[in-house]
C-alpha cells in the first residue's frame, strides 16, 4: 500500500538492485526488516547506541536505525546476510563461529559488519585497533575477548 508522499528509491541491496517506495520517516532498519524481511540486522535500542543494526552503506559501517531509508537512493547497502559468500559464511563470520565469539548472537550481525569493514581498511589490525572498531558495538555476553580473537584469526587467515 503506497501513499502519496511515499518516496520511490532504488538501491543495491546485497548485490541485487531493488526499487521500493518508502515513507519519509522510515528508517533503513525498518525497511530492511519489515520491507525486505532481512531480519539479520537487529533492533537493540533504535537509538544508534548498541550497534546491532549496523550495515555497510557504500562500504562504510552505518547505523541503519539512524539512517532514513529514503537517503539510500542510489547507494549500495550490505547487511549481515549479504556477507555470505556463495551461501557460506565469510572468513570473518566463520572466525566468529570458530573463536567462540558468538554467544546469544544478537550483537553478532553488527559485529560481523564492523569487523568486515575494519579488515578491509586495515588487514592487520592490532588488538587495540580491533577494540576501537568494536567500541560502538555493545555485547553483554562475551566480554569482547573472543570477538577480538575472531578478528585476529580472520586477519591471519585472510593474510595467509
Amino acid at each position: 500500500m503506497t501513499e502519496s508522499n511515499d518516496i520511490p528509491i532504488r538501491l543495491t541491496l546485497n548485490k541485487s538492485l531493488k526499487s521500493v517506495f518508502c515513507k519519509p520517516t522510515e528508517t533503513l532498519l525498518s525497511l530492511l526488516r519489515d520491507g525486505f524481511g532481512l531480519t539479520g540486522s537487529k533492533r537493540g535500542c533504535n537509538q544508534g547506541l548498541c550497534g546491532a543494526c549496523t550495515v555497510l552503506i557504500d562500504g562504510k559501517p552505518m547505523r541503519s536505525c539512524l539512517t532514513i531509508a529514503a537517503t539510500c537512493n542510489g547507494r549500495d547497502v550490505v547487511t549481515v546476510e549479504g556477507l555470505l559468500e556463495n551461501g557460506k559464511l565469510s572468513t570473518m563470520q566463520q572466525a566468529l563461529v570458530d573463536s567462540g565469539g558468538v554467544q546469544c548472537g544478537f550483537c553478532t550481525p553488527g559485529v560481523a559488519i564492523a569487523l568486515t569493514s575494519l579488515l578491509r581498511e586495515d588487514p592487520k589490525p592490532d588488538r587495540t585497533k580491533i577494540r576501537e572498531a568494536l567500541s560502538g558495538h555493545l555485547c553483554r555476553c562475551s566480554g569482547y575477548i573472543k570477538i577480538v580473537d575472531a578478528a585476529e584469526a580472520a586477519a591471519e587467515k585472510a593474510g595467509s
Binding site: S41, R43, L49, L89, G105, L138, R140, S142
Partner: protein, 768 residues
C-alpha cells in the same frame, strides 16, 4: 575404557553460531505472521497513585486500532510465586513509573503507539517511597497498604514496607566478639543494575480457531511462561503452547514474565496474532533490575587470621512487587559467609517495597551484593592483620566435607586450588605488565567467590534413530549460554558418539520434557544429569540388544567411539545402526531413554543452624573460585581502568572449555560494569537513565583487554555429568570487591559503595 573422549572436553563451536553469524537465526521480534497486529503498552507516568478513571474514547478513534484492554477486561487475579501481589494490568492503583496500565493492538506499530498515548488516565497522586531510606522511615507511606490480605506461600512477618524478613544463626557471635583480635565493620551500598540483554523483550501470540494460542517470546523458560499465562489469564495450560525462539541474552532478566500475558490477552480479544516488542527505554522502565541493597556487616578474627565471628544485616530494595525477592534475599543471606569457615555468624535480611520497578533475579541472585560486603571486609581484615590477602582467604577457605552456611555438606570443593592458581599467576604476571602511565596509581585486588549450581526439576528424552544417530529432547531454553551445544555433548559422550550424531530439538511445551528455568547456573549440572541418565538408560538397552546379537554377556561389551559395540578383546562387533534396525522392526521396539528428577541435594541442617523464613529448603551443589584484578587509577580524576583480570573457577569438569571461557569473560565484564559504571538512578520516582546513552554498560574499550580464565578441574562433582558443575553466575560474584580492593591497594581509599565512578573514587582519595 580409554581416556579418549568423543565429545566432552572438546571446544566444539556453538551449534547455533553459524546461523547467528549469518543473520539467519530468528529471535522473537524476527517473526511476523499473516494478519499480525502490533501491540503497545501504556505505562504509568507516576510512581504512586489511584486510578480514578480511564477514558478510551480518543484512543479508539485512531485508524487501525483493533483492541484496547484495561484491567477491567481481564480476570480479577493477583499472582506471584511467593506473595500474590501482581496483576497483569494495573487494577485501581499504580505503584511505579512504567507499570502497565492499558494495552492496545492495532494494524501498525505507529497506530498502536499513538492510541496508547491517547488513553487518558485520571490519577489521584499518592505519596511514594523511592529509596530504602524513604521506605523504612517512620510513618512512611505504604506501597501495598493491603499487603496483609495477600496470599503468601509462607507466613513471614511484615513491618511497614518490609514484606519479608528472614534470619539465620550459627554459633553465638555475641559471645565471642571480645575474643577477637581484630574487628572490621562497615556499611555497603550496591546499585540497581539493568540486565541489558541486547534483545529487548518481545512476544508474539497467535490464537487458532480451536481456542489454543501459541506464544513465541523472550523467556528463560517456556514452561514457567506457560504456567504464568495460565495463572494470570485463567486459561488451561493445555490451550497454551510456548515455543522458544533464539533468545538474545537473559542474565535473569527474562526469568519471569514480561509482555507475554498482555500479548495473549490482546490476541484473544482481537482474534488475531499480536506481537509486542518493547523499546529499549520501556524495557528498562517496565521490567526488572538487580536489587539495590544496603548491607551492614561486622567481622572478627584472631591474630593469625582465623575468622571467629560475623554479623550482617541486609536490606534489599525490591521495587513495587514481590517477584522473586524472597528467594534473592534468602540466597544473598546464605552467601553472606562466602566460601569460608566461620563458626559464629548471624545474618538478618529484609526485603522492602518501594515505588520503583521490580527487582528480580539477575546473574548472582543476591550473591554479588553479599560478596561485595564480605570480600571488602576480608581485605580490610588482611590490611589490619598485615597479612597477604590470598593467605587470609586460604587460611579460612572451605574444603570438601565442610558445611555451607545453613548446614548442608559441601561434597566437591576446589577453593584452595583456585586461590593457589590465582596466587601463582599474580606472582608471575603482575610485575611483567607494562607500568602504569604517569599520574596513575596501580593496585592489585583479589576476591574469593562461591555460588551454587542446581535446584528444581528437569527431564530429558533420547531416542535412537534407524541409522544409529540420536535425537535428544529437553525443555531447556538456550539464552546464549550454550546449552544447545553442551547438552548434546553430554549425550554424545555417554554413547561415545561425535557431537554431529546428536540432533537436538527446539523447545516447545507441546513436546519437550519439562524443565524449570535456565537459571541458578543449573543447566549443565541439573539438565546435564537428566540428559546423561536418559542416555545411560538408552545405552543399557543398546548393550542388552548387542549382547543378544553377539551372543555374549553384556558385561563383555564396550563402546567404541563412533557408534559401535565391541566384544572386549575380540574383533566381534555390531553397529548402532544394526541394533536400531533390528529393534525398530523386530525385537523390542524403538530404543529410547528418559530421565526425570528434582534436585536432590542436602537440606538445611537445623542442628547446625537456626533459620527462619527462608524461601527454599535446600540449595544446589557448590562452586568456588577466586578472582584477581590489576587496576590503574588516575589520581587527578579518579578514573579507574581495569587492566587485567585472572579468574579461577572450580568447574568440576568443563564440558566445552571454549564455551566456559566465554561465559566467564562475559560475566567478568558484566562485573566490571557493576563495579565501575552501571547504576539505575531514580529521581522523584522516575528512572532518569533508561537508555544506553545514559546507562553505560562496558564497551570494547571499557572492558579489560585481557581476562585470563583458569578452569580448575581438580574436584569433579560426583553427582554431575562427567563431574561438571555450573559456571553461569559464579564469575560475576567476586569482580566488584576485587576491583574495590584493588582501588584501595592503589590509593588507600576504601570504597564501600558501587559503582565506583570517577567522582566517588576521587572523593575517596580526597577524603584520605
Amino acid at each position: 575404557m580409554t581416556q579418549e573422549f568423543s565429545a566432552v572436553g572438546l571446544s566444539s563451536a556453538r551449534r547455533d553460531s553459524s546461523e547467528k553469524a549469518g543473520g539467519a537465526a530468528k529471535f522473537a521480534d524476527d517473526y511476523s505472521v499473516p494478519g499480525m497486529l502490533y501491540g503497545a503498552i501504556l505505562g504509568s507516568p507516576i510512581a504512586s497513585g489511584r486510578i480514578k478513571s480511564i477514558d478510551l474514547t480518543e484512543a479508539k478513534t485512531v485508524p487501525g486500532v483493533v483492541s484496547i484492554l484495561t484491567a477491567d477486561d481481564l480476570p480479577d487475579r493477583r499472582v506471584g510465586s511467593f506473595i500474590k501481589d501482581e496483576v497483569t494490568l494495573a487494577r485501581g492503583y499504580v505503584r511505579f513509573v512504567g507499570e502497565p496500565v492499558a494495552a492496545v493492538a492495532a494494524e501498525t506499530k505507529e497506530a498502536a503507539d499513538l492510541a496508547a498515548q491517547l488513553i487518558i488516565v485520571d490519577f489521584e497522586d499518592l505519596p511514594s517511597v523511592c529509596s530504602l531510606d524513604e521506605a523504612l522511615a517512620e510513618d512512611a507511606p505504604l506501597v501495598h497498604p493491603g499487603q496483609d490480605d495477600y496470599v503468601r506461600t509462607s507466613e513471614t512477618p511484615t513491618n511497614g514496607n518490609i514484606f519479608w524478613s528472614a534470619s539465620i544463626l550459627e554459633g553465638n557471635p555475641d559471645a565471642v566478639w571480645d575474643s577477637c583480635d581484630v574487628i572490621v565493620e562497615d556499611t555497603y551500598e550496591t546499585p540497581g543494575q539493568y540486565h541489558a540483554y541486547m534483545e529487548p523483550c518481545s512476544a508474539l501470540a497467535e490464537p487458532d480457531l480451536a481456542g489454543r494460542i501459541t506464544v513465541r517470546s523472550t523467556a528463560q523458560s517456556i514452561f514457567y511462561i506457560q504456567g504464568r499465562i495460565s495463572d494470570e489469564l485463567d486459561i488451561p495450560m493445555s490451550n497454551i503452547r510456548c515455543v522458544a525462539p533464539k533468545i538474545g541474552g537473559g542474565f535473569g532478566g527474562k526469568n519471569g514474565v514480561s509482555v507475554q500475558p498482555i500479548a495473549v490477552a490482546l490476541a484473544r480479544a482481537s482474534g488475531r496474532p499480536v506481537k509486542i516488542t518493547l523499546s529499549r527505554s520501556q524495557d528498562m522502565e517496565m521490567l526488572r533490575s538487580r536489587h539495590p541493597t544496603r548491607i551492614r556487616m561486622r567481622t572478627g578474627a584472631k591474630k593469625d587470621g582465623t575468622l571467629v565471628a560475623r554479623e550482617a544485616e541486609l536490606w534489599f530494595d525490591a521495587g513495587a512487587y514481590t517477584d522473586e525477592s524472597p528467594a534473592v534475599l534468602s540466597f544473598g543471606m546464605l552467601c553472606s559467609r562466602g566460601p569460608y569457615n566461620c563458626p559464629n555468624i548471624s545474618v538478618k535480611g529484609h526485603a522492602v517495597y518501594t515505588n520503583k520497578l521490580k527487582a528480580g533475579s539477575f546473574r548472582g541472585f543476591g550473591n554479588p551484593q553479599a560478596t561485595f560486603a564480605s570480600e571488602s571486609q576480608l581485605d580490610a581484615l588482611a590490611v589490619k592483620l598485615n597479612m597477604d590477602p590470598i593467605e587470609l582467604r586460604r587460611k579460612n577457605a572451605m574444603k570438601a566435607g565442610d558445611h555451607w552456611l545453613g548446614g548442608q555438606t559441601v561434597d566437591s570443593c576446589a577453593m584452595t586450588q583456585c586461590l593457589d592458581a590465582l596466587d601463582e599467576r599474580l606472582k608471575e604476571e603482575v610485575s611483567a605488565l607494562p607500568p602504569a602511565e604517569e599520574g596513575w596509581q596501580r593496585g592489585v585486588g583479589v576476591s574469593g567467590l562461591s555460588h551454587i549450581s542446581g535446584l528444581m526439576g528437569t527431564s530429558a528424552f533420547v531416542n535412537l534413530r534407524a541409522d544409529g544417530t540420536v535425537a535428544l529432547q529437553t525443555g531447556v531454553v538456550d539464552i546464549g549460554q550454550g546449552s544447545d551445544t553442551v547438552l548434546p555433548q553430554i549425550c554424545a559422550e555417554t554413547l561415545r558418539l561425535p557431537l554431529e550424531s546428536i540432533a537436538y530439538a527446539a523447545q516447545d511445551t507441546d513436546s519437550s520434557p519439562y524443565n524449570w528455568k535456565t537459571a541458578a547456573s543449573r543447566i549443565t549440572y541439573t539438565a546435564g544429569r537428566a540428559v546423561m541418565q536418559a542416555t545411560v538408560e538408552m545405552r543399557e538397552r543398546i548393550l542388552r540388544d548387542a549382547a543378544d546379537m553377539l551372543e555374549c554377556s553384556k558385561d563383555d561389551l564396550e563402546l567404541d567411539i563412533g557408534g559401535t559395540v565391541r566384544v572386549v578383546g575380540a574383533d566381534r562387533k555390531v553397529s548402532f545402526r544394526e541394533i536400531a534396525a533390528r529393534a525398530f522392526n523386530r525385537v523390542g521396539g524403538p530404543i529410547v531413554g528418559q530421565h526425570a528428577f528434582a534436585f536432590d541435594g542436602p537440606r538445611f541442617d537445623p542442628k547446625r543452624a537456626a533459620m527462619s523464613n527462608f524461601a527454599f529448603d535446600n540449595l544446589g551443589v557448590y562452586v568456588f573460585g577466586a578472582v584477581g584484578v590489576v587496576v590503574d587509577v588516575d589520581t587527578v580524576t579518579g578514573k579507574t581502568i581495569v587492566q587485567k583480570v585472572w579468574s579461577a573457577h572450580d568447574i568440576g569438569r568443563a564440558i566445552n572449555p571454549q564455551s566456559v571461557e566465554g561465559q566467564v569473560q562475559g560475566a567478568v565484564v558484566q562485573g566490571v560494569g557493576y563495579a565501575l559504571l552501571e547504576e539505575l538512578v531514580w529521581e522523584n520516582g522516575r528512572l532518569t537513565n533508561p537508555s544506553f546513552m545514559d546507562y553505560k554498560i562496558p564497551d570494547g574499550m571499557d572492558a579489560p583487554s585481557e581476562i585470563t580464565v583458569m578452569l580448575i578441574e581438580e574436584a569433579p562433582e560426583a553427582t554431575g555429568p562427567f563431574g561438571a558443575k555450573g559456571i553461569g553466575e559464579a564469575p560475576i560474584v567476586g569482580v566488584a570487591p576485587a576491583i574495590a580492593n584493588a582501588v584501595f591497594n592503589a590509593t588507600g581509599a576504601r570504597l564501600t559503595r558501587i559503582p565506583m565512578t570517577s567522582e566517588r573514587v576521587l572523593n575517596g582519595i580526597l577524603s584520605l
